[in-house]
C-alpha cells in the first residue's frame, strides 16, 4: 500500500516538477562569456585582497589582480603610493625640497571632494579613459565606452552605455566608514602609514609643483617600473599620478586629480533625506481623482501623481491605500499600485524605475517618501512628498 502510494506521489511530484522546464530561459552564451570575465576578475581581486588583509601591510600582491574595476584601478594607483619602498633620488630645490610626504598625506586626508581622470597610454596614445568624481562618500566613474560605475558606499552598480544595469553588488567602499577620500579609495590602505614613506621628500622641486618618485615593492615589480606623483606646491595635494608599466611597451597609466567642485552629475550625488523639507505638497481627497503634486528642487523630477482610495482588508476593515506615479522632466511616467495600508502621520516610501521600462531605456530609479496628514475636513488630507533619483 505504502509502496503504491509512494509511486503515486513520485509520479505526481514528477508531473508537477516537469513544469519548471516550461519557459525556462536557456543559458545565454553572451551573458555567460561576459560573466566569465567579470567573475574571474572578482576572484583574482578577492585573492589579492586576502593577501593584503592577511599580511596587514600596505603592499599588494599583483598589479593586475587588483584592477577589477575602474574605481579600484585608481585605488590601486594610490595603493602604490603607500606600498612603495622608497628609493631616494633627490634633487633638492631651494625651499620645498625637504617637504616630507607626510604633509601631503595629511592634506589628502582632509579632502572630501575629488574630480579625477584616468588615462591609459599605450604606445603614446590614449587607449582608454575614465572620468570620475568622489563626493559625499560616493564614487562615480564614467568610462569612455559609456559604462558607468557608481558606488554609494553600500552598493556598486555598473550601467552600460545603453543605460542597462549590468551588475549590482556589494560596495567596494562600503566596508570602510568614517575615512577620507584617499583612505576610502585605497580601501583603507592609507591607514597603514609607513615611516619610510612618510619621511620621503620630493625627487624634484619645480616652481609650482613637487614630484615624489617611488619604486614599486618587490611584488609588483613584474608590472610596474615606477610611480611618480606630482603634488601642488601650494596645496600640497596630489594632482597627478603616473604609473609606468613594464609589462607592456610604451605604456603608462596617468591619473589627473583636482579638488575644485566642477559640475558633478547631481542625480548621483545630491540625494535627499525625508528629514528635510518636502519637494512638493498638495491636498488629496479620499476616493476621488488623482492629484498631481508639482515637485521643485529635485533634479529630473517634475511631478508626483497620487490617488488615495479605500480598500477592504480582511480582519482590518477599510483602510487607505494609494497609487502613485513619478513624472520626470522629460515627461516619462512610471507608477505603482501600492495596495497596503497608508497610515496618516506616518512616513511611507515607494520606489519606481529600472532600465527597461522607461521610453528611452535608460536606467533611472526614483525613491519617494510620502506623508499623509489629516485635515479638519473628513476624507481630505495633505500629502507631503520628498523624492529623488537614486
Amino acid at each position: 500500500m505504502n509502496e503504491q502510494n509512494d509511486k503515486q506521489v513520485n509520479k505526481r511530484v514528477s508531473s508537477f516538477l516537469s513544469a519548471v522546464d516550461r519557459g525556462a530561459i536557456p543559458p545565454d552564451k553572451q551573458s555567460l562569456n561576459k560573466l566569465q570575465e567579470q567573475s574571474t576578475a572578482e576572484f583574482l581581486a578577492s585573492s589579492a585582497d586576502r593577501i593584503l588583509q592577511s599580511e596587514k601591510t600596505s603592499t599588494i600582491s599583483s598589479w593586475e589582480t587588483i584592477m577589477k574595476s575602474p574605481i579600484t584601478k585608481l585605488a590601486a594607483a594610490a595603493v602604490i603610493i603607500v606600498a612603495v619602498i622608497l628609493r631616494l633620488n633627490i634633487t633638492r630645490g631651494p625651499d620645498m625640497a625637504s617637504v616630507a610626504w607626510a604633509n601631503v598625506a595629511t592634506n589628502a586626508k582632509q579632502v572630501d571632494f575629488v574630480h579625477f581622470y584616468e588615462l591609459k597610454f599605450r604606445k603614446n596614445r590614449i587607449n582608454n579613459s575614465l572620468e570620475g568624481w568622489f563626493a559625499k562618500g560616493k564614487v562615480l566613474a564614467k568610462k569612455d565606452d559609456g559604462t558607468t560605475f557608481y558606488d554609494d558606499g553600500k552598493t556598486e552598480t555598473v550601467i552600460d552605455k545603453h543605460g542597462e544595469q549590468i551588475r549590482k553588488g556589494p560596495s567596494d567602499l562600503g566596508n570602510i566608514k568614517g575615512l577620507t577620500f584617499f583612505e576610502k579609495i585605497t580601501q583603507g590602505l592609507m591607514q597603514y602609514e609607513n615611516e619610510d614613506m612618510l619621511k620621503q621628500v620630493p625627487s624634484h622641486v619645480g616652481d609650482d609643483f613637487l614630484i615624489y618618485r617611488f619604486d614599486p615593492p618587490e611584488r609588483i615589480k613584474e608590472w610596474v617600473e615606477d610611480v611618480a606623483i606630482t603634488v601642488g606646491r601650494n596645496s600640497l595635494l596630489p594632482i597627478q599620478m603616473k604609473i609606468r608599466r613594464k609589462d607592456q611597451a610604451d605604456a603608462y597609466d596617468l591619473y589627473i586629480l583636482d579638488y575644485e567642485a566642477p559640475e558633478r552629475p547631481v542625480e548621483f550625488f545630491d540625494t535627499q533625506s525625508i528629514t528635510e523639507p518636502p519637494h512638493g505638497k498638495g491636498e488629496i481627497v479620499l476616493d476621488d481623482e488623482e492629484v498631481v503634486i508639482d515637485i521643485s528642487d529635485s533634479p529630473g523630477i517634475k511631478a508626483v501623481v497620487i490617488r488615495l482610495y479605500s480598500k477592504y482588508f480582511e480582519n482590518m476593515g477599510e483602510l487607505n491605500v494609494f497609487d502613485a506615479a513619478v513624472i520626470t522632466t522629460e515627461g516619462f511616467r512610471r507608477g505603482i499600485a501600492r495596495q497596503i495600508p497608508w497610515q496618516s502621520n506616518k512616513e511611507d516610501k515607494f520606489s519606481v524605475g529600472d532600465s527597461k521600462h522607461w521610453p528611452d531605456k535608460k536606467f533611472r530609479h526614483v525613491t519617494a517618501k510620502i506623508m499623509l496628514r489629516p485635515t479638519e475636513k473628513k476624507g481630505t488630507y495633505l500629502v507631503e512628498v520628498r523624492c529623488w533619483f537614486d
Binding site: 508537477f16 495596495q339 497596503i340
Partner: protein, 206 residues
C-alpha cells in the same frame, strides 16, 4: 559534466592559491548547469535569471578560496550560493504580481486540489500544462534547501537514475532514495504553503 573527487581537490588547492586557471575550470564546468537550474527556479524572466546567475558567480568568486572539498562537492557549494541568491530574489519579489496571479488562479480552480498534490486524485492535464502551475512549482522549489532542489531537479526533471545522483552527491543510492522521499515531502509542504498564503499587499507596475 561533474568533476571527480580528485579533480575537485586539485581545483580547491589551486583556488586557495588564487589560480586563475582553477577558477576558469570551475566556471566552465558549472556555469551552464547553474544557469539551467536557476532558470528552472525563476522562469521566463531572462534579465532576472542573468542577474541571479551573475550574483551567484560573483559571490562564489569572492569566497572560492574558502571552498573545502572535505565538506562537500563543488556543485553543492556552488548551488548553496545559487540557492541563497534565488531565495533573495523571491524575498524581494514578495509582492510579485505573477505569483499572486498564479495563487489566484489556483484558488479559482474547482476540484479537490489538495488531493492533486497528495496524489490521491489525478490533476487535469491542462492544469499540469499551465504556466501558472509552473510559477507555483518554481516558488515552492525555491524555498527548499539546496540539496533537495538538486535532488528533485536531477531525479524528476533531468531524469537521472539514483545511482548516478549518488555518485555526484558522494553518498549511497539508498541514501539518495531516502533523501528524495524527504525532499518530495518538503516540496509538497512548500507547495501547500504557497497556495494557502494569499498576499495581503500587492505592488504592481501600472
Amino acid at each position: 559534466l561533474y568533476l571527480d573527487k580528485n579533480t575537485e581537490r586539485e581545483i580547491a588547492k589551486d583556488l586557495q592559491k588564487g589560480s586563475r586557471q582553477a577558477w576558469l575550470r570551475l566556471y566552465e564546468t558549472y556555469a551552464k548547469p547553474v544557469w539551467r537550474n536557476i532558470a528552472r527556479l525563476m522562469g521566463d524572466n531572462s534579465a532576472a535569471v542573468a542577474d541571479v546567475v551573475q550574483e551567484t558567480f560573483l559571490a562564489a568568486a569572492r569566497s572560492a578560496r574558502n571552498f573545502d572539498p572535505d565538506r562537500g562537492s563543488l556543485w553543492a557549494w556552488l548551488w548553496t550560493i545559487a540557492n541563497r541568491q534565488v531565495a533573495l530574489y523571491y524575498r524581494k519579489q514578495k509582492s510579485n504580481p505573477v505569483l499572486a496571479q498564479a495563487q489566484n488562479w489556483w484558488t479559482s480552480l474547482d476540484g479537490e486540489k489538495l488531493d492533486w498534490i497528495d496524489a490521491k486524485t489525478d490533476a487535469p492535464p491542462d492544469i499540469l500544462q499551465s504556466r501558472q502551475l509552473a510559477t507555483l512549482v518554481r516558488c515552492a522549489l525555491s524555498q527548499l534547501p539546496g540539496e533537495y532542489q538538486t535532488l528533485l531537479l536531477a531525479k524528476y526533471v533531468d531524469s537521472q537514475p539514483a545511482d548516478r545522483i549518488a555518485e555526484q552527491m558522494s553518498c549511497s543510492a539508498v541514501a539518495v532514495r531516502s533523501k528524495l522521499a524527504r525532499a518530495r515531502k518538503a516540496f509538497q509542504k512548500a507547495f501547500k504553503k504557497i497556495i494557502r498564503s494569499a498576499p495581503g499587499a500587492k505592488e504592481v507596475s501600472l
